[in-house]
């Protein structure tokens, strides 16, 4: 362990709920008979639809072309026929244009022979491949990877950090990937390193994942790459980019800047797996690992799911729910969205589908803030959430901005501990949007 590791005192230590799914090996989910594929599953401009209703599509065929600089390609996960192109509401609250495809036909995914991954391709080839295959950050934000792995001119990358923390409860997809396919992840790292040319490479894994630490260390040794695997204490939200950078290399990224601007690249384990598959097999991104878990799921599991599969189908595959769950969440329990329409589709950024019971959610009535200070004591961005909350509630979002509102990473630690059950994160999120819209320079 290098001596520069500095651990955060803030954030929260969460009860271990990963056990529900940690021991389930990844298995393929059933193919969806109808896939609903949003044309925007990434940060930036939505892709432009290039198919028509009634058209036949093949597995892996391009159905959405990237538009603009920050955009990504979207591919069909199944062979079939386009039955509709329409707009739906996504759980996150936005409306999106989607392509609906009914399963039909043969699977004939083009599969190149496995090349010796990145050694055979040039950097430009790799970047083009990543763009063509539509690989985006699978950890939640969905930033197009071909842009992420291109450092801005004049910036040299000191550190490539691999995010294997997976700090949110229930999620175990990254863990299973690290345990089952460590060498492929390392190949993905090799590709990323070829593009970024970092001075050092570190993988951060939480200490609960002891098995993964072992497998990754072994794989790194075998690969011959100078990768250091660091075990960090399991603490939420250590997987947050900024906190991980601070913990692993001791650098604080100034607010408003991306880590890459300061010479640090952070990439997730799932994304690196997708990078490997894109480069080795020219495989477009149309499936991903989703953890299906929660106290209200009968048989939690880690499934390899095709994009566009309705989340209700995943729950059914895992034995269904125990009664009516208190809440169904897409994503992690801290940053995900509650859903009521189980027809909502799995997208590139869907890390998990959770069915939570009332014991886990612990809904409570909102009461008055007593300024107990718990929120401020856990905030990883060192803000005072109760204070910002009060300012935003009174429409003083500009004052809130000058008190650090935009530094909020929406991790949810504050709402988690608030005894008065104030809707802190929700309100701050709205406040951030209002502050940005009110003509901030």
């Amino acid at each position: 362990m290098s001596g520069r590791i500095s651990l955060p005192e803030r954030g929260v230590a969460l009860p271990d709920r990963k056990r529900l799914a940690m021991d389930s090996p990844i298995r393929n989910a059933n193919l969806p008979s109808i896939a609903t594929i949003p044309l925007s599953q990434h940060l930036g401009t939505p892709s432009r639809c290039v198919v028509r209703v009634g058209e036949r599509v093949r597995e892996g065929m391009l159905i959405g072309r990237p538009q603009g600089i920050i955009s990504a390609a979207v591919h069909s996960p199944i062979p079939g026929v386009v039955t509709a192109i329409k707009e739906i509401d996504l759980p996150q609250g936005s409306r999106a244009e989607v392509v609906v495809i009914a399963l039909d036909g043969e699977f004939d995914r083009l599969r190149r022979d496995r090349r010796a991954a990145s050694t055979g391709r040039s950097e430009q080839e790799i970047l083009t491949l990543l763009e063509e295959t539509g690989v985006v950050g699978l950890g939640g934000a969905g930033f197009p990877t071909h842009l992420k792995l291109q450092p801005p001119k004049g910036v040299s990358v000191d550190f490539l950090l691999v995010n294997g923390i997976e700090c949110e409860p229930y999620l175990a997809g990254d863990f299973r990937l690290m345990v089952e396919r460590p060498s492929e992840i390392v190949e993905g790292i090799r590709t990323a390193a070829k593009l970024l040319k970092p001075r050092s490479i570190l993988i951060g894994i939480q200490d609960l994942y002891a098995e993964a630490v072992a497998t990754m260390r072994a794989a790194c040794r075998e690969s011959g790459l100078p990768i250091e695997v660091v075990a960090l204490p399991a603490r939420y939200p250590l997987g947050d980019e900024r906190l991980l950078v601070k913990a692993l290399v001791g650098r604080e990224i100034a607010s408003g800047l991306l880590p890459l601007a300061e010479g640090v690249a952070v990439v997730g384990v799932g994304t690196l797996m997708a990078v490997y598959e894109a480069v080795a097999f020219e495989k477009p991104l149309f499936e991903r690992v989703v953890t299906v878990s929660g106290g209200a799921v009968r048989e939690p599991a880690n499934l390899k799911v095709r994009i566009g599969t309705p989340i209700g189908a995943l729950l059914d595959e895992c034995g269904g729910t125990k009664g009516t769950p208190e809440r169904v969440v897409v994503g992690g329990p801290f940053t995900g969205s509650a859903v009521y329409d189980l027809g909502a589709p799995v997208t590139k950024t869907t890390t998990a589908v959770l069915a939570l019971s009332a014991d886990e959610v612990r809904p409570g009535r909102r009461t008055s803030c007593i300024s107990c200070g718990k929120c401020a004591s856990v905030c990883p961005s060192e803000l005072d959430p109760a204070r910002l909350f009060k300012l935003v509630e009174r429409d003083l979002h500009l004052d809130a901005r000058s008190e650090g509102l935009l530094d909020c990473s929406e991790c949810g630690c504050c709402s988690y501990v608030c005894p008065a059950r104030l809707p802190l994160v929700e309100t701050l999120r709205v406040g951030k949007r209002l502050a940005r819209e009110s003509g901030v320079a």
Partner: protein
């Protein structure tokens, strides 16, 4: 740029007398000292009444003759004269009261001046005097109300004017032996004034809302993210952004 920069923007000199806050503060100090006994409040209120009505009468009678530039000075002199007269009268006919009120009788002048500035200009002398009478009466009543609450709670008595052999003091059964002394102190005075002002505000707000309701305005603005439940009670009007 922040939301909370003061929006009043009133320059201190220009609107010293127009700002309601300044008026409240200036008029408050004599009130604090006077309202320990009901009789003091009544007496002072009466004094304000006499001086206001008298000065307004004289002022409106003299108005056609006085050039506008020295009108303020003339008002001052008239008020000062009347106040001195009242002070002498009280000293002559109610020496105990005069000793108790002390300097606050002349200070009546300040109150009258302020209340006089607040009055809108009226055309006829008659209307002006009536307006001044009205102001005086309301001032006397509010002072007496404060004094009533303060004296009952703070000393357990109600001191009125002696009549015949009765010394004018009404004792309130439970409180006279163990009154809540704090109300006899200035702290209590501020409390009582604050609550009465709050009650007046609340009544005015209720009237305003009733008027709005009748005019059928649907003025719900969904500005703030969660305006449904505010932790504040409905009584005190809060200043938002």
């Amino acid at each position: 740029m922040t939301d909370s920069e003061p929006k009043t923007g009133a320059s201190l000199t220009g609107s010293l007398f127009e700002s309601p806050l300044a008026l409240l503060v200036l008029g408050l100090f004599p009130s604090i000292a006077i309202t320990t006994h009901v009789s003091y409040a009544l007496a002072l209120g009466g004094g304000v009444l006499v001086v206001m009505a008298g000065s307004r009468l004289v002022a409106s009678l003299l108005a056609p003759v006085i050039p506008p530039r020295i009108r303020f000075g003339v008002h001052l002199v008239v008020i000062a004269t009347l106040v001195t007269a009242v002070d002498q009268a009280v000293r002559a006919y109610a020496p105990a009261l005069s000793k108790a009120l002390g300097i606050y009788v002349p200070l009546v002048a300040v109150n009258c001046l302020i209340l006089g500035r607040m009055a809108p200009g009226r055309s006829s002398a008659g209307k002006a005097v009536l307006g001044a009478l009205g102001m005086g009466v309301s001032f006397a009543l509010s002072l007496s109300l404060v004094a009533l609450v303060r004296e009952v709670l703070g000393s357990g008595t109600i001191t009125l004017f002696p009549f015949g052999r009765w010394n004018g003091i009404v004792t309130v059964a439970g409180l006279s032996r163990n009154p809540i002394g704090a109300f006899a102190l200035p702290a209590g005075a501020f409390l009582v004034v604050a609550y009465l002002a709050g009650l007046a505000n609340w009544a005015a707000l209720r009237r305003q809302e009733a008027r709005k309701g009748r005019a059928e305005e649907t003025g719900t603005s969904a500005r703030s993210p969660s305006e449904r439940e505010s932790p504040r009670g409905s009584s005190a009007p809060e200043a938002t952004g």
